[in-house]
Symmetry: C2
DNA sequence: GTATTCATTTGATTTGCGTCAAAGTTTTCT
DNA sequence: AGAAAACTTTGACGCAAATCAAATGAATAC
């Protein structure tokens, strides 16, 4: 480890004046509690595009709050098949897969240059014994991940290609919108192949579904740029029943 | 609610002399700590075959430790498609999906008459601030669920029908073996349709895969009874690479 | 600025699983 | 015990997505 390479020297690392606070930290703390919270963030770490924040099998030490950038998490089977298990953006917490065995079960790779807050898990555990609000927050974050994965299982087990892609796009744009970005335009940070891996499809199938949506006037696509022209049509594809 | 129907009166509810303790509770506690742990289990509750322990949308109050019986958990999409997200047996903890929103996101249905220990989550949170061992255990249980679901995503996204069924059987028999049962024989508690839902397959496909394994002499099947004759062959199907 | 690599699109063909159907078996109900 | 309902198996056929293939476009390196 070469901390000087990964740590941002001279930058005040503090949640209390971070504009992502409401996304990744619990709310409703007083000044004293907020100060303690600040100390959980040991340091920051930059991860270049294509690099791994952590890799499957590595010792688990910390959770990471994404400050900037975009990640994918993936598991690899023994015979080399890769499954993307999620895409994560600013304000989201990753690394919880490592708690159960003290080793990471998946890898987190930056899809664009990124910066994360390193939060040693033992510190989180210590402080969350003092601060019930933090304790509850940690529980909620893990529960949210369980619920998210339930949703992916529904996608993979029950939905057809176009339904999966519609759900994927709606989910992405909704999360970006929650971060102050457009609710109709987005630039994909991942390849068709990575989308396909996440959705249990081959890249050609993903490409065809994009083209189909485009032909139908539901979206406009130019490579990684996507504009959602008819969100209701997408929602209808994702969930036919609601629109009888 | 009719507590008298669900509570087992006159039974001493205590983890300290429960033979499943090592499966669902943390180890290494002294007498005093063990006694506190006992108090987390508010009561027990019986669930008849086919009944729901909790249902999607219901208010979340407690986690449940399965004492006897067998459950499935499932989510239902708005248009009515059901996805089985897991099968749970004695010693396993369910209900963590409800923490994030204070409402359950999935339903837990008993596949045979069952008995669970009801553990109010607020009590768990309170006590785990006192007992770091319990705190760590709660984190591990949730992390284990995340990791399990990662594995299911790999199954659903990358594997073919027979690989999925092989993985399913190996996983089931391994968990049963950890509970003192045979590592080669099992009686399925779920229908072909429920297996199919979990594995993202139709019941006919599951049935055909069973028949194929049977014809090849890998397993013996008679309805719900399954005997694994050639476990290595199953492992090879699940994970071709390892056996070059 | 050109070459090389990587990503995407689109077409032709194949295939694994789904769908439909019917018969057999087991369990449940009366 | 007998009838009804639920579950399972097996076969024939269809289709959605995978595979194979080739061309185009974009990004990166030299």
């Amino acid at each position: 480890m070469q901390p000087t390479l990964n740590t941002l020297e001279g930058l005040k690392v503090a949640c209390s004046n971070c504009n992502l606070r409401e996304l990744c930290m619990p709310t409703g703390f007083n000044k004293d509690e907020m100060q303690k919270l600040d100390e959980v963030v040991e340091k920051r770490r930059r991860v270049k595009q294509g690099e791994a924040l952590f890799s499957s099998g590595e010792a688990f030490t910390s959770l990471y709050a994404i400050r900037t950038g975009f990640f994918k998490t993936c598991v690899i089977s023994e015979d080399g098949r890769e499954q993307v298990t999620g895409f994560q953006m600013a304000g989201e917490i990753i690394g919880m897969d490592g708690i159960v065995s003290d080793h990471h079960n998946c890898s987190a790779v930056a899809l664009e240059d990124a910066e994360v807050c390193v939060m040693p898990f033992s510190d989180i555990e210590n402080l969350s014994r003092e601060l019930p609000g933090l304790q509850r927050h940690v529980h909620k974050i893990m529960s949210r991940e369980i619920v998210r994965e339930n949703g992916v299982m529904m996608l993979l087990g029950n939905m057809r290609a176009e339904e999966r892609l519609a759900a994927f796009l709606l989910n992405l744009v909704q999360r970006l919108h929650a971060r102050g970005l457009s609710q109709s335009e987005l630039v994909l940070r991942m390849t068709r192949e990575e989308i396909g891996s996440y959705l249990g499809l081959k890249l050609e199938t993903v490409s065809r579904a994009f083209s189909k949506f485009s032909e139908e006037g539901i979206i406009e696509v130019k490579q990684r740029y996507v504009k959602i022209v008819a969100p209701d049509a997408l929602k209808k594809i994702f969930n036919p029943q609601t629109y009888y």
